[in-house]
Amino acid sequence: MTLLLELKDVGASYGAVQALHGVSLRVEESEIVAVLGANGAGKTTTLRAISGTVKRSGEIHFGGRRIGRTPETVARGGIAHVPEGRGTFAELSVRDNLRLGAYTRPNEDFQRVYEYFPWLEQRSAQTAGTLSGGEQQMLALARALMLRPRLLLLDEPSLGLAPLVVRELFRIVRSLNEEEGVAVLVVEQNALIALETARRAYVLEAGRVAVEGESQELKKHESVRKSYLGY
């Protein structure tokens, strides 16, 4: 396996409040990795440090090179970030949202995305804000796919969605990973489904990596089980 993304001792702060205290983690090529943790543990900030939407210290390498400092350059490098709250352009049509996903690409390949999300094709003219929450999360994922990313950053994709929709969402993430080899770094509150989907996981506590390992092992890990799986 080759290394795709590596964070070394990454720190980040919002004004005077330090949110990350030296996080190190890695994602291999075509691997799904989960980041778990309580509210405020620094999960979202870790993703934001990668995509350049928060000021950071430490080193991040992507595909063997130092990663860009601004979200624009990170996106151009092939990392698609689906932020918390989805980052959908509610006033724009479904089609324009998808076009924006391919903004940095020379062409817009809608068909490839419609294969994963057939219903988007019929509703391409609909205003994105009128979709249901689950549909908007699917649209956000579809938009990210338009970038043809090597790495997908997903921030709390299950938030506010019905269990069935969450299942469907993670099924699509898995098939994206299997069929196209897209690597995924997913932040989740829903540890159960995250550990089922990911090969490895990191548990953050107060801005540091507390536990890391294979998902199968973490499921048996006592403190992880108690804190995040609830049994």
């Binding site: 979200p71 624009e72 996106a75 076009r99 924006l100 940095t104 938009r143 970038l147």
Partner: protein
């Protein structure tokens, strides 16, 4: 009786077309205001003076070049100048409170007016018109070719701009950057570049408005765009300050309303046209603050 009716009708149609011509100019400038408002939530008070300045540039160029060459050159200069103003003046105060940015645009208004007086002096000028001032008969009614030309140019410009926003990648980037800057950055849109482009496009709209407004007046000076800016404010408020379509419809509607009121309401006459526009602002703000096509303040915070 029938003859009199026909003449009344012809007169009315002439006044409507004449109102649409003024309205096209208001619409162009209102659209410039809306473009910048959508991107920065600020009214650019200097929009009129930017247009006046580029009209003087057009006047200088027309001394050396044929009309349409000078026209295109002026648009290019306006675009570069508008983008440069954003970079130099607006960017440093981008994250300041709205009031700060508004005051910067008011400073720019005063500065451009003074600079234009310094460069071109206070003698009134005459701007060449690309259109004949002769009338043309359509269905028995005489219309001014100049009026029809102004309507044509304004509408063509608006149509071009809508096509650009709807179908090009940069147009999409401009819309996205205005709606949700944070999410735009995540998909790779260079939001700061988009802001500069937006100012450039707004300046182009203003330049066209200025070049269309000056010839029918006969002579013009540095105060050329001041009443037109007030009409454009009224048009933008009427249409909805965040709606490009509203700016265009509002501009055309306002042009017709003001012209008809000035012609048929004795009390309004020639002197009270501008106050009519202000009354319209007041009524819209009281009855329907979002305007005809605008949205109530439902803006998401980025």
């Amino acid at each position: 009786m029938a003859l009199k009716d026909t003449r009344l009708m012809a007169d009315f149609l002439q006044q409507v077309v004449s109102g649409l011509a003024s309205g096209g100019i208001y619409a162009s400038l209102a659209l410039a205001l809306v473009l910048i408002y959508r991107a920065t939530q600020v009214i650019n008070f200097a929009q009129g003076e930017m247009a006046m300045f580029t009209t003087f540039i057009a006047w200088s160029l027309m001394n050396h070049f044929p009309y349409w060459v000078a026209f295109v050159l002026t648009l290019a200069i306006a675009f570069a100048g508008g983008a440069a103003l954003e970079l130099v003046l607006i960017r440093p105060v981008q994250n300041a409170p709205v009031l700060t940015i508004v005051i910067v645009t008011i400073g720019l208004l005063i500065g451009l007016n003074g600079l234009a007086r310094r460069i071109w002096g206070s003698d009134p000028r005459r701007l060449e018109s690309p259109f004949s001032t002769d009338p043309i008969r359509i269905g028995g009614v005489a219309f001014s070719i100049q009026d029809l030309g102004i309507i044509g140019v304004s509408l063509a410009l608006v149509a071009l701009l809508f096509g650009f926003f709807q179908y090009t990648k940069i147009g999409l980037g401009l819309r996205a950057a205005a709606l949700n800057p944070a999410a735009s950055r995540l998909v790779g849109v260079r939001v700061s570049l988009m802001l500069a482009l937006g100012w450039g496009l707004a300046a182009v709209l203003g330049a066209v408005a200025g070049m269309m407004a000056a010839p029918p007046l006969g002579i013009f000076d540095q105060n050329l765009m001041q009443p037109i800016l007030l009409y454009a404010f009224a048009a933008a408020v009427l249409g909805g300050i965040d709606s490009p379509l509203g700016a265009v419809v509002g501009g055309l509607l306002l042009g017709v309303i003001v012209n008809l009121a000035g012609t048929y309401v004795d009390f309004v006459g020639a002197d009270l046209r501008l106050p009519v526009a202000l009354v319209i602002i007041l009524i819209v703000l009281l009855v329907r603050p979002a305007g005809l096509f605008g949205h109530e303040a439902l803006r998401q915070r980025a």
